[in-house]
Point group: C2
Chain length 266, copies 2
């Protein structure tokens, strides 16, 4: 089974992704996860809802999710983008079914209501944070769909063990999903050619990374890339053999990734 994660940027080439999946799905089983960060930010801005990012003591940036921002997540991810992606895939003849991590307890997360956050030089405690870290997966539901020739199209948010909807880190979620589904091959598409030594220079692509060394790149990764590195590390620990990081903006983004034209971590 091939697990594909497509980022939520504006320039992701969904036509190309849909065509690649329609080609691949006759050859192997596929599960798709997508982001929607551009559409989330756009909606939040139209609704005048501020997006507060917090930086953990270890330097990882994430979004502080209160009730109104969680609703923006639901609308942008599970509503707008998920259904548009599903319709686009159906146009290519793919039997796509869109699900959030909430549905059927697909992504079950340990809630972390209180988080430590940096504020200048101090570390403060933030409460009522509606996020969680995915720990369990309803593999039965995913397998049920895949075995019946459906393509699960999955997105955030997740559901906590107490059955509250919680925002979650997608890169961590796909790592856990890969482990529980015993997936060996992972494609991650975003708005970059792959891992860059210098995030401002696309010509500094790192073509190969040994899995033991992936963490070394934390030092010069910025923003979301830190989470992708931690997600990749977790996925490798869970049994993934190879991760393809590649450009989601180009023609045939998935086939390009599988040809090793981005960054191959193995």
């Amino acid at each position: 089974m091939l697990l594909i994660k497509a980022g939520g940027g504006r320039d992701i080439n969904w036509d190309g992704i849909a065509r690649d999946i329609s080609y691949l799905i006759s050859r192997e089983k596929v599960v798709l996860v997508h982001g929607a960060s551009y559409y989330r930010d756009n909606l939040a801005s139209r609704l005048s809802i501020p997006i507060k990012t917090v930086v953990s003591p270890s330097g990882i940036t994430s979004v502080y999710t209160d009730q109104q921002l969680l609703e923006v997540f639901l609308m942008a991810y599970a509503g707008l983008v998920n259904k548009k992606v599903v319709a686009r895939l159906q146009k290519e003849g793919v039997r796509a079914v869109g699900l959030s991590g909430v549905d059927g307890g697909l992504w079950q997360a340990k809630a972390k209501k209180e988080i430590m956050a940096r504020e200048g030089d101090r570390v403060i405690l933030l409460k009522d944070n509606l996020t969680g870290r995915v720990e369990e997966i309803n593999t039965e539901l995913i397998n049920l769909l895949v075995e019946n020739n459906y393509l699960p199209v999955i997105c955030s948010p997740a559901i906590s063990f107490e059955k509250e909807i919680v925002n979650t880190d997608n890169d961590w979620a796909i790592a856990i999903m890969a482990e529980k589904l015993k997936i060996r091959k992972l494609v991650v598409l975003f708005e970059n050619p792959g891992l860059l030594e210098n995030p401002d220079d696309e010509s500094t692509l790192v073509p190969r990374v040994e899995k033991e060394k992936i963490e070394d790149y934390l030092a010069f990764a910025r923003g979301r890339m830190k989470k992708k590195i931690l997600g990749a590390k977790r996925a490798m620990e869970g049994g993934v053999d190879v991760i393809y990081w590649a450009d989601g903006r180009i023609e045939n983004p998935i086939l390009n990734a599988l040809e090793g034209k981005g960054t191959v971590i193995s």
Copy 2:
């Protein structure tokens, strides 16, 4: 199999619906469809998107759906309300899975891009209307979930035969769904005690309606109620034996409906 439709009003008692379903689902198979009209209107208003209603030459009111309003539908129905309902049901131990009519081609509709609409005394032609009427149902997907002890939680929009997302009339969609799934019993909950002779007076509840006479009530129904009557007529033509229209705002709304305390059409 029992098909339940809960309206999209603000005062629908979702706690009560979730508890009733958790009680009923151990006894029979259930499919749930929900609306989200209050949340759609609220979101459209926050985004300053006008909701244009059109009146057909035969006097039926519906929403004129352009691209930006269709996105509001996706966000309010498939995103916000669907996932909140799914999470609420899971809190009661129900294995709820939320799906829109787009997913897996669940609700397949014939698009009607051009609609005739009344404008004062004239009838005009409106183009680029993103709506359709549901004609086919992916019963295979619904049965797959139900047979594996999941509760499908379904909402608008639908997908056209050309694979475009289209807004659709929920009451018509549930009638077609009832027919294709061979459902005999239908519960429809809204913000009224049932069918009222005088829409402004809740004491004028009509407790029993013979199915042959349901159309007689079109004359004194207003707004959305006309569509509910046409949907009920279509459902009866498709083989439904009994339809329970009842109050979705009270304690145990479904059990109350099944006890015949609203309007029973048979």
